[in-house]
């Protein structure tokens, strides 16, 4: 198992390296540069800006510079948080006035007073909260519906559950979002239609400290809008998997030896039927992660979402690279986590 995790982690780094290279090539082959404006700047100024941000160097050299900034730790005498050029994710104090800095993703070209690290630090927790709560909605709605539908096949519950499932996959965020805004925000005036209800500092870096009414009011609609589609997928899969499991021999054995039905279902059927559901959590997480940014646009949430689109239209190379790498990292880590949980849930699976 340890060997499997080590090998997968190394593979993960390789994947991220390839992703960064592809992103680098793509972003630089898009015509136009970060300093293009409606009213063109004088060429001398552009040349100066390019020199300042090392954009006048040949592309391979720029890529190596990027890798060097991100991967290689370096000593610095500038205190953390004070420099646009020398901001790093990890700042380790060695002695007075000397820091070991690691992972510098560079400054943002579009908002000149912030670095990629600043943007991620301020905006990511909000997106992460949205994603976590949407995942909670997906599981809290999806699993019970799927279990009920599976246990009472062809009953009202089954039809209800599968109705919700079809509804969930057919009504995407961009349909559900404005509809919810209109119903609960505009007509009933129950919930606010934009903004977010949590402020830093966060618990564990991203969770809101308290779930007060303000937070729940702001988070309710976006989480439901984003999570419902995933809950449909979870419900379908739970149902299908439960239907398959209850026909297995070990369930018959459990019943035959006189176990109470509740124990048969809870201990024998459910645990095994959750295995396929766990595998889908990886891709589901990916869908939620990319879904957050449309949800944020609809509900006016100040998360990472805005930066996906604006960084690309602004040719803000460091921010493009930062956001894409960040989300690619989420995806590969989520998939690794899924594989590990998978082996833990099903002892028959052994990685070598």
């Amino acid at each position: 198992m340890a060997r499997f995790i080590i090998r997968r982690t190394m593979w993960m780094f390789l994947v991220l390296l390839v992703v960064s290279a592809v992103t680098f090539i793509l972003e630089h082959s898009v015509p136009g540069g970060p300093f293009d404006q409606e009213k063109a700047l004088p060429p001398e100024i552009i040349a100066n800006l390019n020199e300042r941000y090392h954009l006048d160097e040949p592309l391979p050299q720029q890529y190596i510079r990027f890798l060097n900034d991100v991967l290689v730790p370096h000593l610095s005498t500038i205190p953390p948080g004070n420099s646009l050029q020398d901001s790093a994710v990890f700042n380790i104090k060695i002695s007075d006035g000397r820091w070991l800095k690691w992972m510098n993703f560079g400054p943002s070209y579009a908002s000149r007073s912030r670095t990629v690290n600043d943007i991620i630090r301020d905006q990511l927790p909000i997106s992460a909260q949205l994603g976590v709560f949407a995942l909670l909605v997906a599981m809290v709605v999806g699993m019970p519906l799927g279990i009920l539908a599976g246990l009472r096949q062809n009953s009202v519950w089954d039809y209800l559950g599968m109705g919700v499932a079809v509804f969930g996959v057919s009504v995407p965020v961009i349909v559900l979002g404005p509809t919810l805004v209109w119903i609960f925000g505009v007509s009933l005036k129950w919930l606010p239609t934009n903004g977010w209800g949590a402020q830093p500092p966060y618990l564990l870096g991203f969770l809101p400290r308290e779930l007060d009414a303000n937070f729940i009011k702001h988070a309710a609609m976006p989480s439901v809008a984003l999570g419902l589609g995933s809950s449909a997928i979870i419900a379908r899969l739970t149902r299908a998997s439960l239907l398959q499991v209850v026909r297995e021999d070990y369930i018959r054995t459990a019943r035959a030896k006189g176990l109470v039905e509740r124990i048969v279902i809870l201990r024998h059927a459910m645990k095994n039927s959750l295995i396929p559901v766990v595998t889908i959590l990886g891709p589901l997480f990916a869908a939620l992660v990319t879904g957050t940014f449309v949800t944020e646009l609809i509900f006016g949430i100040p998360g990472m979402g805005k930066y996906f689109v604006t960084s690309i239209t602004n040719r803000d190379y460091p921010v493009i690279m930062g956001t894409i790498l960040l989300y690619a990292m989420f995806l590969v880590v989520a998939n690794l986590a899924v594989d590990i949980v998978y082996a833990w849930l099903d002892p028959r699976i052994r990685y070598s």
Binding site: S29, V30, I174, G177, V181, V186, L297, V309, I324, L331
Partner: protein
Amino acid sequence: MATQADVFEAGREPEFNEEARKGQSLWVDSYRRLIRNRAAVIGGALVIILVLMAIFAPLIAPKSFSEQVLTDNNKVPEWMFSIFPSMKGYANVSSDYLIGADYVGRDLLSRIIYGARVSLAVAFVGPIISMLVGVTYGSISGYFGGRLDDLMMRVVDVMYAFPSLLFIILLMAFFRSTLAKPDPGSFSYMLSDIDTKMGGMFFIFIGIGVTAWQNMARLTRGQVLSVREKEYVEAAHAIGARNYRVMTKHILPNIIGPLVVAETLAIPSYILTEAFLSFIGLGVNPPTPSWGAMISDGSRVVRSYPNQALFPAIALAITMFAFNFLGDGLRDALDPRLRGTR
């Protein structure tokens, strides 16, 4: 799988249908199962209606989709007040527009009708591109196996790690850069010329094509691996058939069923990708109407003119329902494991 148990659980004798004893082709059989599935029939009928609507849009649409009457902006018909009473008091009334006009005075209904063209074009072209690329890639990988297979699948793995929506956005920005225009005569000029003539759909097709084939490739590879060692493939090799022939004449026809089903089930996701792209402004070029772009425009004014967001949203939802129902029905009808059951 446990179909036998199903029958016994219901306490019925297994029924032997006289017709079922006769030889039936897979397709006739599937078709019969499909039309017995009410949801699938409704879905199919809706798809046909949508296709007709898209084809005959110029005949159905009451007005032009692009003509702006700026003095009519945000006008709504009288009956709208009974659904959205909050609009009474500030909305201008005009009976010219059946479900209202948008923020520059274009007829919403006509735009929704024309918008079906984009969504349906994606619904049909998306699977074709994804099949062409994915099946070719997957069959080569699965058929030749070994190192080549390893290499090709690692490429797919890396593609998986790319957040696909971000990748499409990056590609879209790459394709239609706003500030730079390519020189006439160059290849990229030709491409953007095609794109302009198609109202911006061409690049969406390419974007979907680039990102959507991995699933198909994996599935195809798995299917090829499962039939590669079968006797009929060996027989084909034995009589001296070349690789290309074995792949296209012997392997492909035997694995195409599940691939078609998977592609049908993926159609809603293509429609969604286009809607998302248009929603964030990287989809079709204005004034070509797309439901995603209309929802985006509408959701900006959803507090004052909810009709502008809700009607295109309903159109998109109906289309998604239709394809989901049809896809589910097709899967149930074509899934060989369910053959001979209801």
